[in-house]
């Protein structure tokens, strides 16, 4: 499971690297963090001009987008087994961030 949920964070991170994402997010300088409440761990990565840095364990100083969920839900969402919107409306996944950022991020959560 440990590898699965980190792999799923990495999958989202790598989604920033497609040609299309690089255009969509080219002006992004933000930090995304992921808090896994079931195991008490947080990971984050910084995005600089649309390009994500490596994943780091721990809470960042400031987070622009914060996803709080349990590791199983997260793996399910990123593998497509659980719909992102369903996880959100059933409160299994919480997202904190500005609406424009979240609207843009929707496209990467697939």
């Amino acid at each position: 499971m440990t590898e699965d949920y980190i792999e799923s964070v990495n999958k989202l991170r790598e989604n920033f690297l497609t040609e299309k994402s690089q255009k969509v997010f080219r002006k992004w300088n933000k930090v995304m963090s992921f808090e896994f409440s079931d195991i008490g761990k947080t990971y984050h990565f910084k995005i600089e001009n649309g390009t994500p840095n490596e994943i780091v364990e721990g809470e960042p100083e400031k987070s622009d987008v914060k996803i709080t969920t349990d590791s199983e839900t997260w793996v399910g969402v990123m593998s497509g087994e659980i719909g992102g919107m369903k996880a959100y409306t059933s409160k299994k996944l919480k997202v904190k961030g500005s609406m424009p950022d979240l609207l843009k991020l929707q496209k990467l959560m697939k």
């Binding site: 299309k20 255009k23 002006k27 609207l103």
Partner: protein, 212 residues
């Protein structure tokens, strides 16, 4: 026997003409302003665009002109020429294969904003409008029909797929349908009308609380 729905160019040509008539009746398209196009589903390396010089509500499917993605008219025997804005449409389709529907209009309020020397900073006001028009982006002026206008649009459309063109009009791009592109164009007008209405009360405008 169950009939299978099949999306083809003929159907999309009808959709285009329907959208064009609706937008013309709403005065979002005018006699001299606006053009529509879609990426062909039968041959995705081409697109269909409205002709130049034909009154907007008179355009029929037979009048549309097919062009290749390197800017050539497929059948030269049409009595009409493609809209002069074809380089802008072409450049959008070249930018990404998912872009499929374009409405270029001279929507009155957005076009009024396009000629302001120093436009106000618009804020999102309501959830629906914020969702449809997350950001009002104004593309710097380039001459109508020029390649440079296409380049400027291609650069800005990654920020928003509904754009105001300085001293010109509006372009709305959709990956889904003409209906979606029309809705975004109308939402932009509604957004600006709401701004004007609220300004008449002379109070401070309240930003949409869930935005940040």
């Amino acid at each position: 026997m169950e009939e299978v729905f099949h999306l083809d160019d003929q159907l999309l040509k009808q959709e285009l003409c329907k959208a064009m008539k609706e937008l013309y009746s709403e005065k979002i398209l005018t006699d001299i302003g606006g053009n529509l196009s879609f990426r062909s589903v039968d041959d995705p390396d081409t697109f269909w665009i409205t002709p130049s010089g034909l009154k907007k509500d008179l355009v029929e499917p037979k009048d549309l002109i097919q062009m290749t993605l390197d800017g050539k008219v497929v059948e030269e025997h049409s009595i009409y020429s493609p809209s002069v804005e074809w380089p802008m449409h072409l450049r959008v389709y070249q930018e990404d294969e998912d872009f499929r529907f374009i409405i270029h209009s001279h929507a009155p309020l957005a076009t009024a904003v396009s000629i302001l020397e120093d436009p106000p900073e618009f804020q999102p006001f309501t959830a629906e409008l914020a969702f449809l028009v997350p950001e009002i982006v104004i593309v710097p002026y380039q001459r109508s029909g020029s390649k440079e206008l296409g380049e400027a649009v291609a650069e800005a459309l990654w920020d928003s797929q509904i754009l105001i063109l300085q001293n010109h009009g509006v372009i709305s791009i959709s990956e889904e349908s003409f209906q979606r592109a029309s809705i975004k164009t109308r939402a932009l007008e509604e957004y600006l009308q709401l701004y004007l209405n609220a300004k008449q009360f002379q109070g401070k405008l309240r930003r949409f609380p869930d935005w940040d």
